[in-house]
Symmetry: C2
Subunit: 298 residues, 2 copies
Amino acid sequence: MASRLKVAVAGANGETGQSIMDALLANSEQFEVFALARPASVNKPVLSAFSARGAIVKSVDFSATDALVVALTGMHVVISCLTMLHHKEQMALIEASSQAKVQRYVPSFFGPACPPRGVMKVREAKEDMLDRIKLLYLPYTVIDVGWWCQLSLPPLPSGRIQTKVEYALNEIMGDGEAPFAIVDKRDIGKYVARIIADPRTLNRMVFAYGEVWTQNHILDTLEEKSDERVVRQSLSKDDMENIISDAYKILATNPTDLEALSQVALTQYKYSIGIRGDNTPEHAKVNDFYKRDVGRGG
Amino acid sequence: MASRLKVAVAGANGETGQSIMDALLANSEQFEVFALARPASVNKPVLSAFSARGAIVKSVDFSATDALVVALTGMHVVISCLTMLHHKEQMALIEASSQAKVQRYVPSFFGPACPPRGVMKVREAKEDMLDRIKLLYLPYTVIDVGWWCQLSLPPLPSGRIQTKVEYALNEIMGDGEAPFAIVDKRDIGKYVARIIADPRTLNRMVFAYGEVWTQNHILDTLEEKSDERVVRQSLSKDDMENIISDAYKILATNPTDLEALSQVALTQYKYSIGIRGDNTPEHAKVNDFYKRDVGRGG
């Protein structure tokens, strides 16, 4: 067991974090798995369940750098699945990982392929983190993933499929013809497990995805298979630009307005994917990403 | 001759530009060479000399986008050797190259290896250009080079070697022990000629250098070979930080003060190379650069 990779995951209880923990714990001959959790979160049921499957839950205070360095010392890989609402914690984790001489840091990207700046506010914040990582010469791997297929389906009138309606794509983005890469949320961890064990991905950006679809093709297929009609709404380029500029007006007076921030984030995702067509393997490659070299996790 | 690469160089009359033009014109079986020059510069002797060797000098107005697109249409490669004082012209060249569907754009980096942000103002401006290039999905190659060996020598008391005294390294940066990559200015074009013809370097950052030296080793060797004593001055980390902060005070009231800007730029180069030790092949690699895969141009 001496050659197992010690992997610490921050934000293990989130959606991406859970997918990654599942895959790492399923490969216990390869990985020794740690979940980093704030003292208030240590006893959450999801973490207890990971603990029961062999994970070591470490209570950490992200504002106490010295203790954080101690907690990370000896880790081969640190993976952040913290959200952008935890920017300070992420920056602390980067600093501490550098001081602890972690061999590979995976920042919390896990989003669709997108140019570094000029498209999405959320992406820009991630790129700022990457710049900091490069300034410290902290070895890294950036992992982008396709749009979750769990977020790519609209609800069916019969209620036969359950979707997260707040993200549901029954709004046709533009003409619905832009191809975009999708990934099954449950596969993300399987990709990550392969990527962090692969020396070729060190100091690289990697794009992990399953298949490429258009929105029209998804909805047509769903209607054909279900024999139901999906309610299609239209969300044009202009609609999106108006939503974004309205939200920016709110942010101009209240920069931390959560609803406006999430309107900007969500609509910029749709604009990037549906109008600009950024989230494709071809574009990911042009953006200095690595060619996908892991098979679909099975 | 149908398969020759059409290469357009902007800023062909500068130091890097001349090195590149020399190498491209020396490979006329491989390259069809164009120099882009503002109307006021078209008749400069250096451009006439390139013209006599087979280059086609194109007069271009960087503020007239449509005409610039026409001038660039059909070019396989566009190389910018414009300085940071021509930011507007560089951005125009990027936009026009994208519209003209240029197959590879080489932005004006040609500087030492350095993290993207947080070290050098000049580097940050270059990275902003690269972000724009990525936003447009304009295929690119970024070429960083070692510090010029022509700038790495101090003057000798006898006057036997001529150096550009304003850059001369008789100031020992820190303890003089930081290794840094150097390149012979005359070799830059030879590297560039190989890099732009290599499909592996598309959408990559490449680091081209000749050898790695420390400043003490350079000066010791020079003294030994010349049997002269070099006047060594000391430039400590604190000295540099003071020079930079003094210059920023001037820039706070006059943001375009050229002398303060050049003090910042020059001292940040020295800080990056001599104190942080950024300009090494190892760091270039960590920063997602390509391993050098062109031999020393001979």
